[in-house]
């Protein structure tokens, strides 16, 4: 009781403080944009609007990083897979968890003491409706609020100082398989949120809510009629040409688009100068391509939209008529780089399908598309003029009840949601990747609302060489891999680069690793309590630089990987028993914070 009363009193003070700070609240965007450029804080799940995941902090550098050590830790009390990263806004760190989606505000001035804790009450029946574990990729901050996407598709805004609910809105129906796992993004006076459920036949969409009161402003579906997908047949372009009328519906048979999928569960980025938000769309439902003839637009696409109206400026579909579950939701990194020798406002995207795409982010023109793992074999190349992949017929899964062997990458993709990082100093991209191949066997399934709508069974195994993952440096202007660090398991952790010349990532065994950005040489590693599928972040407090990461194995990486994969198939390199991840690590959500002595 005493604590409660004290908290309330303190709360009031904080609220007044927050109000004073927020002032006229001219634009949350300006405030956020400014905060995101302060390297002492980490105010967005993506680091900044451009998704660089880069920090100009340089106290920790190539020569002293070997002395790094954990300085404090925090158990979240949750066992499931911990994706995403904490935020640091001012003197407070915000830590989120998978279902039940607890949010903690920790006081950095008081050894991480819990200022407030928010734990929603959610129907546990949402758990099995979540494809691939109950992960959550983090909270967003804007205008004195913390925004959380709950598993049960509720979006809630919490007072950043007190944890009190400011508003709450339903963004979907778990009974139909609609759930939320992604991190929201605050743009201007709006909150942008996606939806998960491609394995349940949902109609994917991006939705904008008022940051102030949670009122819905616009909703843009991935599949459907023009007025639902917010495409202007004349003004929305694909590779420079107008998309025309019914660009989505015309690519589906009958009403199939209504259960067409195209989830929006990845990351979002924003270019304030061009006033465009960018994101990718997920797989068409089902995984059995035979059941859904057509290109299935605009699943598997990159879309650029105006955040005020939601109307699309341009679109590009990477994998028309997907046959392998290569969701297009991975992050869009906005970087001004030289592309083939020409300074370009680029968008760089490492897709699940194994190709890294470099586009002009203003026009949507495709400039470079190259494999970022040489193992990729479902397509020979991508024609940058037509945008079409040159598909390998033998890797097609179009024929029902026919097992196609040796497809690389596996459905996990050459990379999944684990975000890469851009280092403006080197101009290179640092990317955590999977190196897994599969056999794919599609068959007919029926649709039942709220039930899995998958229609394929697959076996996965390590790619050529026998390792399951790599951490790579990539030149997106030239389409070339610069260096590759092999990892025994998929690298399912978001990367961080710093001006100290050091890059960081986590491994499924639980190691936090620091590498030299020039050479990829490992400079430091520490084994955290559980496998890392979270993203590494950095901040400084009291003049000292810290590096933090959530560990807690799980997610899509926890499926199969936790139990071990089947042995490698003949002809694909390493054969023999595959060592189980469970021999290295066990469950448990813990945040570990590192610093120099």
């Amino acid at each position: 009781m005493l604590t409660k009363r004290t908290t309330t009193r303190r709360t009031l003070l904080y609220v007044i403080g927050a109000l004073a700070l927020a002032g006229g609240s001219a634009s949350a965007n300006e405030e956020l944009n400014k905060l995101s450029q302060d390297p002492n804080q980490w105010v967005m799940p993506t680091g900044d609007y451009a998704n660089h995941r880069h920090s100009t902090l340089a106290q920790i550098n190539g020569s002293n990083v070997k002395d790094l050590r954990p300085v404090w830790t925090f158990s979240t009390g949750v066992l499931r897979g911990h994706e995403g990263a904490p935020l640091v806004v001012g003197d407070i760190m915000y830590v989120h968890t998978p279902f039940p989606n607890t949010v903690f505000a920790l006081d950095l001035n008081n050894q991480g003491k819990i200022i407030w804790k928010y734990q929603p009450t959610q129907d546990p029946n949402v758990i099995p409706v979540m494809c691939c574990d109950t992960v959550n990729r983090g909270v967003a901050y804007g205008d004195g609020k913390i925004i959380l996407d709950q598993a049960d598709a509720t979006v809630v805004a919490l007072d950043a100082k007190t944890g009190q609910v400011v508003w709450s809105v339903k963004n979907g129906d778990p009974a139909k398989g609609e759930t939320m796992t992604s991190a929201p993004m605050v743009v201007k006076d709006k909150v942008l949120v996606g939806i998960s459920g491609g394995e349940f036949g949902v109609q994917g969409r991006l939705t904008a809510y008022n940051l102030k009161d949670g009122k819905q402003v616009w909703k843009a579906s991935t599949v459907g009629p023009d007025d639902q997908i917010l495409f202007d047949p004349e003004k929305t372009t694909v590779l420079g040409k107008p998309v025309g009328k019914n660009s989505s519906v015309a690519t589906w048979q009958g009403d199939q688009w209504k259960i067409g999928g195209g989830g929006t569960w990845g990351w979002y980025s924003y270019d304030p100068k061009l006033n465009l938000v960018y994101y990718g769309t997920g797989n068409p439902s089902t995984w059995n391509p035979h059941q859904r003839p057509g290109d299935n637009k605009w699943s598997m696409s990159i879309i650029a939209r105006n955040p005020d109206t939601g109307v699309a400026k341009w679109v590009y579909q990477m994998t028309p008529h997907d046959e392998w579950d290569y969701d297009g939701v991975n992050e869009m990194i906005l970087a001004d780089i030289d592309v083939m020798g020409k300074p370009t406002k680029a968008l760089v995207h490492f897709d699940r399908n194994g190709f890294a795409y470099t586009l002009d982010r203003e026009t949507g023109a495709l400039l470079v598309a190259e494999k970022y793992d040489p193992a990729v074999n479902w397509a020979n190349k991508v024609d940058v003029k037509t945008g079409l992949p040159d598909r390998v017929a033998a890797m097609s899964t179009e024929k029902e009840d026919h097992n196609v062997k040796g497809i690389c990458p596996a459905a996990l993709g050459s990379k999944d949601e684990q975000p890469g990082s851009f280092d403006p100093k080197s101009g290179l991209f640092y990317v955590p990747t999977n190196h897994v191949c599969m056999d794919y066997d599609p068959f007919a399934v029926s649709y039942t609302a709220g039930q899995p709508y998958v229609g394929s069974t697959l076996s996965m195994y390590p790619g050529p060489g026998g390792n399951l993952g790599n951490f790579i440096a990539y030149d997106a202007g030239k389409g070339k891999i610069v260096w590759t660090d092999k990892e025994p398991f998929s690298v399912w952790s978001g990367a961080l680069t710093t001006d100290g010349g050091v890059g960081f990532y986590g491994t499924l065994e639980g190691y936090l690793k620091a590498v030299d950005l020039k050479t990829g040489k490992e400079l430091y590693s520490f084994k955290t309590p559980s496998g890392i599928i979270g993203n590494v972040m950095t901040y400084s407090h009291g003049g000292k630089q810290y590096v933090a990461v959530l560990s807690g194995v799980g997610g899509w990486a926890g499926i199969g990987m936790a139990a071990g994969l089947t042995k490698s198939t003949d002809g694909l390199g390493a054969v023999g028993a595959y060592e189980q991840l469970s021999s290295y690590t066990q469950l448990g959500g813990v945040m570990t914070v590192f610093a120099l002595p």
Binding site: L79, P128, D133, F443, Q451, V454, G554, A563
Partner: protein, 140 residues
Amino acid sequence: MVLRFSARSGVAAIGFFVLCTTPALAEDPPYTIKDGKVEIHVYNGYRRYGDGCMRCHGPDGAGSSYAPDLTASLKRLSEDQFKETVINGRQNLANGQDKVMPAFGTVPDVVNYLDDIYAYLKARSDGKLPRGRPERYDDN
């Protein structure tokens, strides 16, 4: 709570078999395997498992970081208990587990092939079928 109940009923079931139905112990397994190859029902079970169950229980019934290893579970559960669990679901929310098995009772792609799914998993559990995609002996 749920777990304790199942364990007790498991013991009760064994007791029942020993006392009354000795022939039941010699009952044929629900699968046929010749030279490491399976017949169509087991194969179909493998595929339907891939559709409805693998997302959580992992490839080959081997479990994941968030759902149990079914090759181990079927060493404890009877066929009836297995089917009851699939049809009605179960929850284990204790100790931060947050484990929820949905009820598949009205899902045709699962219920219509429940015998096949059981046969496949039982063969895996009995150690008669290795991991990976089984080969059929009654087809190419």
